[in-house]
């Protein structure tokens, strides 16, 4: 579709080709609409469009919307205009529907969990569906492509949503500096007072007031779905879905050997469709766990935008890490410095005689604001009081 035709007779003209280029970018996750195509054409008219360098920088200024886009633009430009569109199809499959997931080529093979699942050794759980080699999957790998719909039911999510709402409310605080009109406020709202005083001949009889509104805390949840955590996937995924549904500012990420953003997928109004999308995104569930590496990637990447003083970072993991514990230590220190509060929910903590001896957990402890047990939805609900104290 977005292939550049090479026959002059079939050439639909430059405008159509630019439109094709925008479609190509859209297929690769850029957020562009018809208006951008118009702007792109206007931009090309404002430069020497025949000069590839100028056209490239001009289209870049129009089409990119973030640093990430800007980094990918040059390759996509070359793929479309320089390569007969050959790279288009493959790139489109890898990027389609994933929105902003974080895919990393490296570290997947090297980070295979040595600690638990023996089937980790053979895994290469890559995201792309293309390529013949992938189809020859072992039984072990087939198991990993677990369908989340078997694990979580819509009823679970409904119950979790109620819990998540309560937890979200518990986390609210009052630190806004802005004032808003309110019936019982401490400050006087001069604007409304003067306006009202016109009715009384300029004597401000009725004082309008303003107060500082509550400012909700944003929750960023990171859920570990490696092999050792699979037993808890049901309550945790339901909880994540509930969190996302309860508040539109919440973010959710999954990690096993990779870090995947599942916020958009979970926000799907249809619960089953949402789980389906997460299943597709989170290919490799139940594999090895690279907690340190993933947290570090999160702290260096998405956290720069998503984590600030009004954020609670919630990590759901058992702390069994195949990365060296220094990774967790550094990543959490980095997150802390961004001002966020850190909550670590560990399913194992509820067991009698549990001590955080796993090297990863021990490294994490000094950074945490709250370290609590959570195995079931009821446990999560019981956290309300603790979270309110944060």
């Amino acid at each position: 579709m977005s292939r550049v035709t090479r026959f002059a007779a079939r050439d639909p003209g430059p405008a159509a080709r630019v439109a094709g280029f925008m479609a190509h970018l859209r297929a690769n996750g850029f957020r562009l609409g018809v208006a951008e195509t118009e702007t792109a054409l206007a931009a090309l008219a404002a430069v020497r469009a025949a000069d590839p360098g100028e056209a490239r920088t001009a289209l870049k200024a129009v089409a990119c919307g973030s640093a990430e886009d800007a980094g990918r633009f040059d390759d996509l430009f070359d793929a479309y205009w320089r390569n007969g569109g050959r790279v288009v199809q493959r790139a489109a499959t890898a990027g389609a529907g994933s929105g902003r997931t974080t895919r990393e080529g490296d570290g997947r093979a090297s980070g295979a969990g040595r600690l638990h699942a023996p089937d980790d050794a053979g895994r290469g759980g890559t995201a792309e569906a293309a390529g013949e080699g992938r189809r020859v999957a072992s039984r072990a790998q087939a198991l990993m492509r677990r369908d989340l719909r078997e694990l979580v039911s819509p009823q679970d999510i409904a119950a979790a949503e109620a819990v998540a709402r309560r937890l979200g409310a518990a986390l609210r605080d009052q630190r806004s500096r802005r004032r808003k009109a309110a019936r019982q406020g401490r400050a006087i709202d001069l604007r409304r007072t003067i306006r009202a005083s016109l009715a009384t001949g300029g004597t401000p009889l009725r004082l309008a007031r303003r107060r500082r509104p509550d400012r909700p805390v944003r929750i960023v949840a990171l859920c570990d779905l490696s092999g050792s955590m699979l037993a808890f996937a049901r309550p945790y995924l339901a909880f994540l879905a509930g969190l996302i549904r309860a508040d539109r500012t919440t973010e959710a990420w999954l990690f096993h050997t990779r870090l995947v953003r599942i916020t958009d997928a979970l926000r799907d109004a249809d619960t089953l469709a949402a789980l389906n999308r997460v299943t597709l995104l989170a290919d490799g569930i139940g594999g090895g766990s690279r907690i340190g590496g993933n947290l570090d990637r999160f702290a260096r990447g998405p956290a720069r935008q998503g984590v600030n003083g009004r954020t609670v970072v919630m990590i759901l993991s058992d702390g069994y890490d195949s990365d060296p514990p220094a990774g967790i230590d550094q990543a959490l220190a980095r997150l802390r410095r961004r001002g966020g509060r850190l909550v670590w929910l560990n399913p194992l903590k509820g067991w009698s005689g549990y001590a955080p001896v796993a090297a990863g957990m021990a490294a994490a402890l000094p950074h945490l604001d709250l370290f609590a047990a959570a195995t079931t939805l009821a446990d999560l609900a019981a956290l309300e009081a603790d979270l309110a104290r944060l």
Partner: protein, 292 residues
């Protein structure tokens, strides 16, 4: 020479060395009348672009520094309450009442223009710099969208104030918060990175003309090596210029010659305790030796 190359040259004449991406984005933003969103790490010269553009166009720079809690009253307009109160009292003394008083009270004479309103009411189009938009709240972004798309401001008591001229709008963001897609779509985009060696040398030559060539090379090499270290706050171009100024103030002609003075001048580059600890004298000396 095409338009954007002329613009690049103009910027360079005013001491700003712009990368091709940025110059093109700036040119398009002027040509298409779209706002330009500039992102990049702190200290790569985002704010300076606007200042230089204002100098190039010989126009006024109106700057709106965003912060958490910024609201319409501080960014767009506010009524002058004290004067309104006085006018009400005066009207009452004079025995005036009714619509005439009200109309006078809510006329432009009592309106305090804040940066956004001021920017669209100037007879000559100014450069409007909305600095660190990511620090403002999301509600404020919505106000901004209305102004950026229509270039008009609605004051309930007065009606809609249309733009006299369209300002050249530049927004900067450090990425402390994800901006809304609506805002991103409305803007052209440029990502500014740390400049490469040649560009940085050119910047240094433009801003600190008296610097010996060898020292300039050393300074740039040193700062670029420093950026490759694992630091919390990487030194930007502004820090580089401070560093160069500090060195020439200390009368140093060779970086590797005087470790003590180098260590003292590092205060201009490393701004956190952890970063100072990460670059002790030996490391600094090693980096300086390599840069030489």
């Amino acid at each position: 020479m095409t338009d954007w190359q002329t613009l690049t040259a103009d910027l360079a004449r005013h001491g700003y060395i712009a990368a091709p991406d940025l110059a093109m984005a700036l040119h398009l933003s002027l040509a298409l009348g779209r706002p330009l969103l500039i992102e990049g790490a702190a200290g790569v010269g985002k704010t300076e672009v606007a200042r230089t553009l204002a100098a190039v166009k010989a126009t006024e720079l109106i700057r709106l520094q965003c912060y958490e809690g910024l609201d319409a009253a501080q960014a767009i307009y506010e009524w002058n309450y004290q004067r309104q109160l006085l006018a009400i009292r005066a009207a009452a003394e004079a025995g005036e009442t009714g619509r005439a008083v009200e109309e006078r009270l809510f006329s432009e004479a009592f309106l305090l223009e804040r940066p956004l309103l001021r920017a669209i009411r100037r007879p000559v189009a100014p450069v409007l710099l909305i600095d660190e938009i990511d620090r403002a709240d999301e509600e404020f972004e919505a106000y901004l969208l209305e102004i950026l798309s229509d270039f008009q401001i609605t004051v309930p008591e007065l009606g809609t104030l249309a733009a006299v001229t369209r300002p050249m709008v530049i927004l900067t963001s450090n990425g402390t918060r994800e901006l809304s897609d609506a805002l991103r779509r409305r803007c052209l985009y440029a990502h500014v990175d740390y400049p490469d060696r040649a560009a940085e040398l050119a910047i240094l030559a433009a801003r600190c003309p008296g610097l010996p060539e060898q020292l300039a090379g050393q300074i740039v090499g040193f700062v670029q090596a420093l950026r490759r270290e694992d630091l919390d706050k990487k030194p930007g171009v502004a820090e580089l210029l401070d560093f160069a100024a500090a060195l020439s103030g200390l009368g140093i002609n060779d970086l590797s010659g005087d470790p003590a003075a180098l260590q003292a001048a590092l205060a201009t580059l490393l701004k956190t305790e952890a970063d100072r600890a990460a670059v002790p004298a030996e490391v600094a000396a090693r980096l300086a030796g390599k840069a030489a």
